[in-house]
Symmetry: D3
Subunit: 321 residues, 6 copies
């Protein structure tokens, strides 16, 4: 269908529909107002400035509106930027609903629900199974709607559940290939590990941290949820399975300096920490590589020690396409 | 009255009553069993080996027993050690109860109860006041009985409450001297900050970590207690005061790498972190200095970056004696 | 009286008197000169640009001049900035002396002199007492006039002595609550700990580092002053009290990586280090919080690991107002 | 069949065949010689001292000999130790060959050969395929015989190939679940990543570092092998595939401080680094857990930041047995 | 002769010939194109913007062209910047060849060749001597032409060989003053230590990293060259001298975190690491100091922990002029 | 002449004269006293235990006595140790004075005096020249007698001046090869840089730290000496040369975390830091290598990040013998 913004070449002229994600009015050095936009479509987000904005333009070009923009994508200090040459509100008969412009996980919600349900059957520990179902039920809507992070990785609608499902798939291979692993703990821990983000963040659109997110953090917020689930389900808090489940969730950042209040002291905690990291890394590199031309280096990825990544030249045929 | 073990000079011969804190039987290189003791009286703890132990000696010299020991205190690789020359069980008519040999906080429990009660009146925020009283009530006995740590600082019976009271006294000066401080948060946070140690540790005698202590840790354990208190008291969890109270407790180690899952984002959290550190440091240095001769350096203090501390020579008259 | 610049809301229009702290003329991209101002009044400092500056404006708007400015306070990349709409020199009959615009410590000099004098009586060690009085006398004027730092904390006229007095107050509580503390060393060390800043910095107005400040640093500069005081007062340099006094001053940054050439090996050195840190932290947070609206996070505080701080919403009533 | 040394309880008396791995004669404090042994059977290794050794005992009990030992396994400073009560050379008719006592990978060599051959077919890049086969061929014997490390992980005969095969299995799941991955690079890199250990180490028995291992290291040694393979196979060194293959091998330790001369700049390099880490971690934890009783913590694992790991109590039924 | 750009004072007007090193056309906020130039002459490089560029100006002012510029040198955010007031292409009869504008090492190539040849005679180990001559021969042209780094130190034509010669001079003093040093290893190691930069970088003009530079790095690239030299010269790779030579080259960054895959385990490796560092540091400080006025601090030097350096005031007479 | 202890092979029997450096009497596990000796001759120091010591042996074998010992040198946990088989006091007619057993710098004092005097003439700055001569004069005797450190490097009589002279030799090459260096500052700084060790340490025999050494440190102690020299010589302390001289001394450890209160901000300070490091490293490696057999690795060197160093096998002919 129509090309997305990141499917155009750099400096290639285009005319395209975009959703205004945010619109800040500021004063330029010539004392005239301009609008600092963030636009988005399903290929990603991009900033752009609209100079010499008139009163009515400021009123019309609000966040949440779909617009038709002529211009091109440039690089400004190595970051992509949209140079706007013309811009107008999309007409009603152009049939462009805002929800078509929001990046989404590549799996449909129903597929993810099904995958998670299948795994739930593998959780044979009664207390773990009941707690996981209880919390999943309580935050179900947000869990399948929220991104996995405000910015770094899986920062798109449905990213939280997509990240969870991706880890579960890897975990199934681990569970099959190694002995001595407690499947209930492994799968239960993975499903819950980031679900506190539904309390830490505000939602899929213009994602921000909540007060609880800033002052308590998603790791402890899940621990509280397990505590409350035990009270609600009349599960004895001192059951070893409950303590172990809390531990794998609390320890999943792997090191104190990454925000876990305890380091992994269980095989399953160590595995979850590794898989979480691995899936997030692949997602971040993949996002960066997709916006890079073959034979060139990507922009630097903040969440990966500011490294940039090389996209092999065309001659090297990636097997997986 | 009778001199304590650390009141004798190094290498000075003595005859003294001591409580056996622990007694491990091992095999020496000559294939004869020996007993590795840890003794204690109110001046502190000391290790000592009993060579060529006979069957009945092994049976009699059990942990929890009071004994009369002849010997002297030596330095072995810079650590104090007891050289035993003679040793027997204390007679019943010598009237030496085990509890007289356990190091205790220098304040009586009633004094500490009173000080804390006084401060509770300064907590004018209703939710904070109710939560603090609820948790204090629930763990009251342990709170006034437990040490503040297994080893590092305030490692004596009543150390947990004594450490808390010491910080409260400093906090009152802070509250008086600086403006803009929320007293409810400051005092409530201090009272709760280490109370999770009553769950993390096993008690005042032969203190060890519990499974919850190892896998969840006292910081998150308090957070869970606040969560449960809210449920029990029907306090809305999203009340800002509750979130702030949780934060000051969670952040009191000051840095992620010291085990806090969040860093301080409140003035009161920052203050509690500093005072906690300061009181613990003074206690550790004081303990080390007390066992050092004037004009010499103490043993190295593990909890303070392995530094040793100089005890000024007699000529310098400490004002506070 | 008249409102100060930080007492206005963001984006609220005002007409206000301000002192020009510095004025740099630069060329804009349109090749016309502009003036980059830093203004100040007692509520703090703020930058602002004056575009298309004419010859006579450049001549008139010099540092040290009081001006009447119309405009508003904005946020530019999260830092406060003054948008100037109109600006003129203050008329003589408007009676606005530059000294009314310099931020000052909240205590009057005489109060601080008195507090310090009172503490001097507690210094019973003759050599310490004489050395402290000698140095205090030598740098008296600057000590009560200088800020405690160029930027980070207590960066206002009188900040150095105010910081010192604040620490002394906390130290008195410490001295009362703990045993084994050498009061002479504690108080003497506190009074001298930062007095080298009178040599390290240039003064209260447009504070900069001196060559000695850059190449020797305030910590060693005090040590040199103690050395010279001993020579002048004929105090034997090898007196233990002198060595200890030097140590507490040299060690007050607590760690080598913070610029102390030795780490604390005395109880008093450790205490001074903690109190110095605590008072500076409270001051930095307090400054940041004062410019923040209830229910929001402050700007990030560079001196505190770039953390931002939450100002509780109105509902939480701070006790200390 | 017969129980292995780590299948006995602590302090349980046994009579057992063991291989002497090393035997050092030293002088005891009583001036009599003793032998410091390391024994091994397929359950692992253990140290033990033999006191008052006579001339002929010293001559008989050499490394490489199988002996029959009576004694028990103890803990000495938290490390396992063998207390020997009786010991003699195994008789010929007891039919105990040394090779029965060497720990081996749980997969037979043929199985591993087959798995690797299967993966080789997935390497569709001609230069990578040829280079990998060439090097594999050259070091084939050692590759299937060597351990993956002298001590830390997979420290048993065949450990190097077993570690490689384990990673390949995880990599196949990755290749299936994520798009944009170059399979040739991924599989080729994994097969070669540690093959330099066949040059770095001396072999499966009494493994030590070679001079090249100490001064060049296995990471650069593989790079040299690729360079030589290109010369031998007349593959142009500047082919992009060759450069990328070298990179994934050089970068597989992930960080400079872990000995990689470059950090990962390719998606495949990042993945190999993670999988290498994950498989090594699982192996180390598994080894520690196997020697631990349910409901207790293992010894500390040096290669994992000195953490210890909890073995859940019997009640928790591990799914995978 | 004619003054160079860094020989003019800040803000002093000049008319001067400069080589355009690079010229990027961008769009200004007023939507008119401007050219972002980097100019250079033998005193260094400087950026400058040319506003409102017309079509023909964009076509004429290309990289590699010599131009005559009127303007002045300014400081912009503490970095030097050229303000252009007039600019034209240099006339043919002005006789200004581009090569006169490239910064070069202060020694002529022939002098450096001679110095290195002299040292080659001191390399008495046959394998080391042959390998060094072979590689030097192979990369001779680039070795005397390339800079030692893209930016940090010796970033001028011939910088690589000049850096090498400077270290050799220091090494000769070391070799004379200390015993037990293997001269072949020391000198051979120094000559080869950075020669991989001829593969890592693209050349003396507009220096960039090559793909091999980014993905393999100059340290391993030399190791590969030694490997290939051995094959070509039929030198047995396991000769100890070869292993040692590889080691000193691989270890010359001194620490893993600086990119060496092994740390120095030879006296000669440690010495080379120190001398490399020392020479680079002197060069970086010297460059910064030359652009600083007496009595002032230089700009901050990124490669030296962002420190700035003081240039003593005129009164202090440097001995070496 | 007679062979020294480190000239014998490991485990080779010998009969040899040694100086008792220290002699501690302790109780063995069999309850009999033993003496823990440190012996020394000019080849180095070694520990050894003397079991079952009788009363008169304890009285006779005091520190400072020369004894004749039969025994051999062993390795105990990789550290050299002397196994004593026979031992008696040296007879008077054996003519063995204690001073013959103290390790000394390889240069005679007069040679070092002469070298330093020659360099003093190169210090053309009057204030620096006068200060350096004044301090050198004041501490002359100790300067040529003390070691450069208690343990790490140049830990022998005369080591302090020998280390200084070694650095001066390197500095002369630097001064000749690079421009822009202030020779007065360079040479003056080197001569003074470690002279504070004459106050920090107790002397050449059984070197310990003094109280000033522990609490002030040699770096600040030199700074104090410069301050006092200025007062004595009536040199204005604010002379730039004096400030710069202080700086190069204060900054010579190069980083705050190594104990310098300021980092180098002068070219000469940076050079002194590097040369100090280089000379100390060579000395430490040389000491370790001398005790190692060709083709083996030395013991680990604590002062060099616990690295061990390889001594090339005989085949590699070191040039410098």
């Amino acid at each position: 269908m129509t090309k997305k913004i990141y499917e155009y070449e750099l400096d290639e002229a285009f005319e395209i529909y975009l959703l205004i994600k945010s619109a800040d009015v500021r004063l330029a050095k010539n004392n005239k107002p301009f609008i600092a936009f963030t636009f988005q479509d399903r290929s990603g987000q991009i900033d752009g400035k609209f100079w010499d904005a008139k009163e009515d333009e400021i009123n019309r070009f609000q966040a949440g509106t779909v617009v038709k923009v002529s211009g091109k994508r440039e690089l400004y200090q190595n970051n992509p930027q949209l140079r706007i040459t013309k811009m107008r509100i999309a007409h009603e008969n152009e049939a462009v609903a805002p929800e078509h412009f929001i990046e989404r996980a590549p799996l449909r919600t129903e597929e993810m629900v099904e995958e998670i349900n299948r795994v739930l059957f593998e959780i044979t520990s009664a207390p773990i199974n009941r707690i996981v179902r209880y919390i999943l039920n309580k935050y179900q809507k947000a869990f399948f709607d929220f991104p996995a992070a405000k910015r770094h990785h899986h920062a798109f609608a449905g990213g939280l559940s997509y990240h969870t499902v991706s880890i579960l798939r890897l975990a199934e291979t681990i569970a099959k290939n190694y002995t001595g692993i407690n499947h209930s703990l492994l799968y239960g821990g993975i499903i819950l590990h980031d679900i506190g983000k539904t309390i830490e963040l505000t939602g899929a659109l213009s994602t921000e941290y909540t007060l609880k997110g800033n002052l308590i953090g998603h790791i402890v917020l899940v621990d509280e949820e397990i505590t409350k689930a035990c009270e609600a389900l009349k599960i004895e808090e001192d059951t070893e399975d409950v303590i172990l489940l809390k531990h794998v969730v609390l320890a999943h950042h792997g090191k104190l300096e990454f925000g876990s209040p305890v380091v992994p002291h269980l095989l399953e905690a160590e595995i979850i920490h590794h898989l979480d990291n691995l899936d997030a890394s692949i997602n971040m590199i993949d996002t960066a590589i997709q916006r890079t031309k073959p034979g060139e280096f990507s922009e630097r990825v903040f969440g990966l020690g500011n490294r940039n990544f090389y996209k092999p030249s065309e001659l090297v045929e990636p097997d997986s396409k």
